[in-house]
Point group: C2
Chain length 394, copies 2
């Protein structure tokens, strides 16, 4: 019989996708260049040439079996080795190849991480504002996602609320830093405090609590800073990475789970990922892409445009009177809406062809998300629309 679970999900179209479809339709009417589409988190800068050149070189110089053959179920050993070495060099870790599981982007990495350390019925805590897809990702494993209310002061962690919700039912905590949608980068102080609480509660509860760190925006940090590497703060960390944003290749579905060897069980967990894959039909990211990423993993696309765009928008929106926590990274900004109802606010913005995403599905009411991974010229042209919007409506 046709699955009722998945049939029931068909109604629930994502707000982001609906807005993006609206933007495309509106673009057909008035020209897409006149639609200020801030809805989608889709990288706007090209992949580094070196990546494409490496793909071509592999195709031209390696045997068909070597390039297109099956990858072992945990990933190609030489690829895992190169990624481990890169992480060690950059973040002072001591991963070996055996601590790395190659996954199909961050979604694939998270699908494995959740199944590694929770059973159906277990709770996973995450912090508002959060990526709305965490709900289907977690719900369909049988675990329960519970959302800790936001710290709207600076979008670091609301520790009081966190401590209250951290009961023995919780087996994993899911964080996303740099954060979609707030752009906040968790500070060393935040990660140190989080780690201390987890360690204390593990003692109290008598069971492990795993930290699942979703970090596809790790390389997009502003003001010349770097994001603290989460796994350095807590031994039982599963780092879920995707090259989608750093290399601008979201369509190629390439990432990994890196298990902190200080957990003492990293090799076992990585082997278990191979078993999880069998059940969910995962079977490794494509060999060609694995091989090309292994040799370009220290590069990034030209990410500077995101900082440029952020500064332009931040200055203008502040001047217009918006209440905004200045993003430390990503290509998102999360200002407070100028009325309580963010949905109504974003609906009014459409009159000015500003496509903004209301914050409700991110777990915080009254805010909106701007995804400024678009051309800088368009960001500049959008400022007049923002001015008219605020002047005429508020």
């Amino acid at each position: 019989m046709i699955s009722e679970t998945y049939q029931a999900m068909l109604g629930g179209k994502s707000v982001i996708r609906e807005l993006s479809e609206y933007a495309a339709a509106r673009g057909k009417e008035i020209g897409y260049e006149n639609v200020f589409d801030f809805s989608l988190g889709n990288p706007s800068v090209p992949v580094p040439d070196a990546f494409n050149e490496r793909v071509v070189e592999l195709l031209r110089t390696q045997s068909s079996m070597a390039v297109h053959g099956y990858s072992p179920s945990l990933g190609i050993p030489s690829v895992r080795e190169k990624l481990a070495a890169s992480l060690n060099r950059r973040f002072g870790m001591n991963y070996t190849a055996d601590d790395i599981f190659m996954a199909s982007g961050a979604a694939g990495a998270l699908a494995h991480a959740f199944r590694l350390v929770t059973a159906p019925g277990d709770e996973i805590l995450t912090f508002a504002p959060f990526f709305p897809e965490y709900h289907p990702y977690v719900d369909l494993t049988g675990a329960k996602l519970r959302v800790v209310p936001a710290n709207t002061e600076d979008f670091q962690i609301n520790f009081d609320a966190f401590k209250q919700m951290l009961t023995p039912a919780v087996h994993a905590v899911l964080i996303n830093t740099p954060n979609n949608p707030s752009g906040a980068v968790y500070s060393e102080a935040t990660l140190t405090a989080l780690s201390a609480i987890l360690a204390e509660k593990e003692q109290e509860f008598g069971h492990d609590i795993w930290l699942i760190s979703d970090e596809p925006y790790r390389e997009i940090v502003f003001d010349g800073k770097k994001a603290p590497y989460v796994s350095r703060f807590y031994p039982r960390t599963l780092s879920c990475y995707s090259f989608s944003k750093s290399l601008s290749l979201p369509g190629e579905r390439i990432g990994y789970v890196a298990v902190n060897p200080a957990s003492g069980v990293s090799k076992m967990l990585v082997s278990m990922c191979g078993q999880i894959s069998r059940g969910i039909g995962h079977n490794c990211p494509p060999s060609l892409i694995q091989l090309a990423v292994a040799d370009t993993c220290d590069l990034t696309a030209d990410l500077s445009v995101y900082e440029t765009n952020m500064n332009i928008l931040y200055d203008e929106l502040k001047a217009l009177g918006f209440d905004i926590v200045r993003p430390g990274g990503t290509f998102y900004m999360f200002p407070r809406a100028m009325e309580e109802d963010a949905v109504a606010f974003c609906k009014k913005a459409l009159r000015y062809d500003l496509i903004l995403v209301p914050s409700d599905s991110f777990g915080v009411p009254g805010y909106f998300r701007i995804a400024y991974c678009i051309d800088t010229k368009k960001v500049e042209r959008s400022l007049a629309a923002f001015r008219r919007f605020v002047q005429e409506e508020y």
Copy 2:
């Protein structure tokens, strides 16, 4: 807490993988050219040049966003359209793009198909001999795989046993033709009879029974024949395809689920695949590979070597007294072992550096699988080893 389900699976290494690892180790001792490794179903012929050239052309001529950008969750529309047109042209179907869901190889396609039409507790019937990975694939969805005993006469379907096991608990039937490991190609008569029984039982039970057709070997058929296209025989067919074998790119993880539009619910099921993906972290095959396959989907690698190898082995093994059903396709052969215990038989074969897989994990005792997707010269050299093996041991 660390998942007990997946931890418990760690012990169960596949027999095939163990043998393949043994072969690699033995190869280091005596030279891999002297090990007759018939263990793995890994294509041995190169990808068609046109595929690699299309990849290079895409990288050189298309924008980074067009080639490396996100694919919509059901697959790139132009790719789905081209694949539908190809299937219609080749098999007289009338698919539209909306009937096709792009999946990460056959494993990804099957993961979606099982979840589409069964709920935990439902039964899925398959026929021995069968691909052993069906067990974890199905078990981890919560459905139950039950195996209909083999028809060892010709490895078509044992219909008497099938009818007995086809109870109201069964919601899907899983077939694999051309078959791994037997090499049998289900005849039109077999598919017609299967379809009639399913239709009759649907009436009797008052619920649908779906036919899940796993067909990665569809293009590898011998004697100038073609495999009957399963979906033409039964409207509620989910065709699960992979280009791994036809294009010799198993590492690139590209395939699809094609839902027969005659089912009346194909568009809904394909949309539901997008929801299933969210739960299992699937998120589409890589964009670059999707685009390249769309333009080379009517090609195949040079598959003739498999038929050459089959004929060499079949003639020699028959002459040595083996009882074999001559394969109609694939790159497998499934002779009866020369003693009842196939494991003992295959162990003795190792003395002659013949790596053969005992049939027990395929659901039939007393047989063995030969995967002859290896160089023809090596197949020829293996004949002397087979002769010595039989003469000295039996």
